[in-house]
Amino acid sequence: MNPTHTNRLALVALLALAPFAPEAIARSVVCESQNGQTQHCYADTRNGVTLAVQYSHSSCRQGQTWGTDNRGIWVSNGCRAQFDVGEYRSDRGSNNDSKAAAALAIGLIGAAAIASHHDRDRSRDNDRYDDRYNDRYTYQPYNDYGRYGPAQTITCESQDGRHNYCRYNLRGARVDIDRQLSRSPCRYGNDWGWDGGGIWVEHGCRAVFSVH
């Protein structure tokens, strides 16, 4: 056997093995639900999967809008995220803008807390903008926190496990769970869902839904 032939055989062997080499197995997967549809992304889930970075405004809650099975990762209702597979942890904080990221994070943590506070008032007051807190607080630098809340909130409840359809014009909207009220799970597509005419709930799911 001449050396050239040997090299070719080795190359063929390497190519054949390549799909099974550790490098060929995805360590990080971006999975995206488009138009609210459930999307499945292949991944080796035997050693667990961690949500590393959430990209979507739509919530990503394990068991509700994302999860795993023996074929990979599924996402639904607009969840879009990067998932780390097994023990792998993707790098998230070592770029040149880490200081800017930290400053932004500090500001937005405060804004998020106040947006939560504002959401509650908005829901209680039937979506009327309640700006009484502006008299007392100015949450610099993100003092326009009111815009971070949902456009509207709707409470829809499944009583005694029964199906309930809460009619609402949702054409062109995006619906998410803002707060879960029930101990029963609210898994998107299984216990709740929505279409252009409203939100449905069943199996005891009760929640406050945000409409964006």
């Binding site: 949500l51 809650r61 770029n95 400053a103 994070a105 500090i106 937005l108 007392r136 949450y139």
Partner: protein, 131 residues
Amino acid sequence: MPSPISFSLLLRTAGLACLVAVAVPVAAADAALTSAADDAFKAADFDGDGKVTWEEFRNRVVRVFGHLDANGDGRIAGQEHPAAVDAEGKPAQPGNVSAESFTGAVEEAFKASDKDGDGALSLAEWSGTTN
């Protein structure tokens, strides 16, 4: 790397200028801010179990990040970047902040507040009352 952050401190720092301007008595202001922090905690507690998990908190913060990201490219840059201060209160230089680095920074802050390391913030941890 951000300094350890208490959520109460954030609320207090953020509200300081206006509190001085309207001359609200300190005790009343503290009570009001504590109340605001408590209410914010309850609203962030998605399932009402008395703890705010990383997942619950991440979903809140990412929503705000998404609103700032006007062009939807997953980065806060240029005009999208609001005026900000760093952990020492100094004006921060606007950057080109990716969702990845932002998540890393927020997660660091969250972990720093999670004193008992259980992966969730209690009301005490949220309010910064634990040492």
